[in-house]
């Protein structure tokens, strides 16, 4: 009975996996991986002293404990309800697209009917940026306002890219149902990553733009505007802000995995809780962690763009590429590659 309640799909997917708990665990791992990777490339060690034998893996837990005990300072002239509420709302709403993602073919384990899941997932993912802009406005600090404005500009760059390239996956399979998209990529060579690499690359770049990944780390450019919209936050609010950006990246990379990397393939889910729900879920989580790890590696190689160069690149280079990817998907649909 208890197991039935816990594995009720809406509750399970939103709170446990891949919802809040799994997202936090994976984000902690990815943050550790990012710091270690950057350190390996940069002639240093990275997190070490907290737990030397496992390579400093508990450093992030130590950081979280430290943030929990730090005093949260709220500026007197800040707009209190929005100042406190905006990051929390951003954190929660960044996770919403998870509710529209299937992780199995068994209909018993869908949170919502999956007929238009692609559209719902993409639509839900566009809700969160407004809260960052609100947090920047509520801080009453010039650097925060500049950061919030930069976030507003960057939205115009990446949103269209995500919509077009996500739809390219749907068009190739001629269905809005994410389960159909995953099941259609059955042999290994039919992954949409290989048949339509342009769309995959464009969506990868768009995810970097959306979540402040290098080389597009513009809304929180440390050397120009201190910390952008997050300048005035301290203590646990600072930890929540940093986590929200990575949780958004996690939600996007789940979408990327389902569309382009074949979701839970090559495993075939059968009935039952473990074989039908948990194992495909773990496979999808591993694949999306690999995608996030590649994004973290780029931190060590790239600098950051200017805001007008990012917008310029998005509209002059990436949108034509996305349209070409969409065209390739149309050709694939016409030729019946995924029939």
């Amino acid at each position: 009975m208890l197991v039935d309640i816990i594995t009720w799909p809406p509750l399970f997917q939103l709170v446990i996996a891949p919802g809040l708990v799994a997202a936090l665990v994976i984000v902690i791992f990815i943050l550790w991986f990012e710091r270690k990777t950057a350190a390996r490339v940069q002639m240093r060690i990275g997190p070490y002293h907290v737990s030397p034998r496992i390579g400093g893996g508990l450093q992030l837990i130590a950081d979280l404990v430290r943030y929990s005990f730090q005093e949260i300072i709220i500026p007197k002239a800040a707009d209190k309800p929005i100042f406190i509420g905006a990051p929390l709302a951003a954190l929660v709403i960044s996770l919403l697209p998870v509710v529209a993602m299937p992780f199995t073919t068994v209909p018993k384990y869908y949170p919502i009917p999956m007929d238009y899941s692609l559209l719902i997932a993409v639509a839900l993912s566009t809700l969160s940026p407004i809260f960052i802009i609100a947090a920047g406005w509520a801080s009453n600090n010039k650097f925060s306002i500049i950061g919030g404005l930069r976030e507003a500009f960057v939205i115009t760059a990446y949103e269209l890219l995500i919509v077009i390239t996500a739809l390219a996956g749907g068009v190739a399979v001629l269905s809005y149902n994410l389960t159909d998209i995953v099941v259609a990529q059955k042999p290994f060579y039919k992954w949409i990553l290989f048949t339509n690499p342009i769309a995959a690359l464009t969506m990868f770049a768009a995810i970097l733009m959306a979540t402040s990944g290098f080389p597009f780390e513009i809304p929180e450019a440390e050397n120009e505007i201190v910390a952008g919209a997050y300048t005035e936050y301290s203590g646990l609010m600072y930890g929540i802000n940093m986590g929200a950006a990575y949780i958004k990246r996690f939600a996007y990379s789940l979408l990327f995995t389902l569309i382009f990397l074949g979701g839970w393939l090559p495993y075939e889910p059968s009935s039952g809780l473990i074989h039908g729900y948990l194992i495909p879920l773990v496979i999808v989580l591993v694949k999306s962690t690999i995608v996030m790890a590649i994004m973290s590696f780029l931190r060590a190689v790239y600098g950051r763009f200017r805001i007008d160069q990012a917008l310029d690149g998005a509209w002059r280079i990436f949108i034509p590429l996305a349209l070409i990817g969409f065209g390739i998907a149309l050709i694939e649909a016409y030729l019946g590659v995924y029939a």
């Binding site: 390996r40 490339v41 002639m43 240093r44 590696f297 060590a300 190689v301």
Partner: protein, 181 residues
């Protein structure tokens, strides 16, 4: 044959440079990710074994000092002061000035060691000493003659950095009785 001027131009990016530039940067990153070259010294579990000509803390050898006061005169930071102490030299008691040092001010320039005509002051290769309050850093004549100890010597492993044409500096732990330069 003095230096000559050479006119150069910066290379302008060409069409395909976007792809090759990105690939080159990522490949260099991957090369160092697979084979990192780390310089880090895990202080205080490892501490550097300094060379013998390092300008570290200064120690006085009272028997050689002749009281000429050159060290106090040349100190740029006014860290050396002379105190008069009664000593016995050649059977006669007399008052002689001896230097004492204030490590709050010392900048370890080494002028006092270089100017002493009898080599009564010398450097020891120690650079990390811990004092718990500022009064302790003003040494009197007794403490000035002792060789200060670095706290990392008790627990750490001494390491040395050797030059290497591939990796720049290579960290080498020193075994017991190993070479000191």
């Amino acid at each position: 044959m003095p230096g000559k001027v050479v006119y150069k131009k910066t290379p302008k990016p060409r069409f395909l440079d976007a792809i090759t530039g990105n690939l080159g940067a990522i490949l260099i990153g991957l090369k160092y990710f697979a084979n990192p070259n780390r310089l880090t010294m895990k202080y205080p579990y490892e501490y550097p074994q300094l060379r013998s000509n390092y300008r570290g803390f200064i120690v006085l050898d009272m028997k050689k000092c002749i009281g000429c006061m050159s060290c106090a005169r040349i100190c740029p930071a006014a860290a050396m002061k002379m105190v008069k102490v009664e000593v016995e030299k050649a059977g006669k008691k007399k008052q002689m000035p001896f230097p004492v040092i204030n490590y709050n001010r010392c900048i370890f320039c080494g002028f006092c060691v270089d100017v002493c005509p009898t080599e009564a002051l010398y450097h020891i290769p120690v650079h990390d000493v811990v004092y718990t309050n500022m009064e302790d850093m003003v040494l009197d004549l007794e403490k000035f003659q002792e060789k200060v100890e670095s706290p990392s010597v008790k627990e750490g492993v001494p390491v040395r950095y050797l030059f290497d044409p591939d990796k720049g500096l290579v960290k080498v732990p020193i075994k017991e009785g190993g070479g000191e330069e």
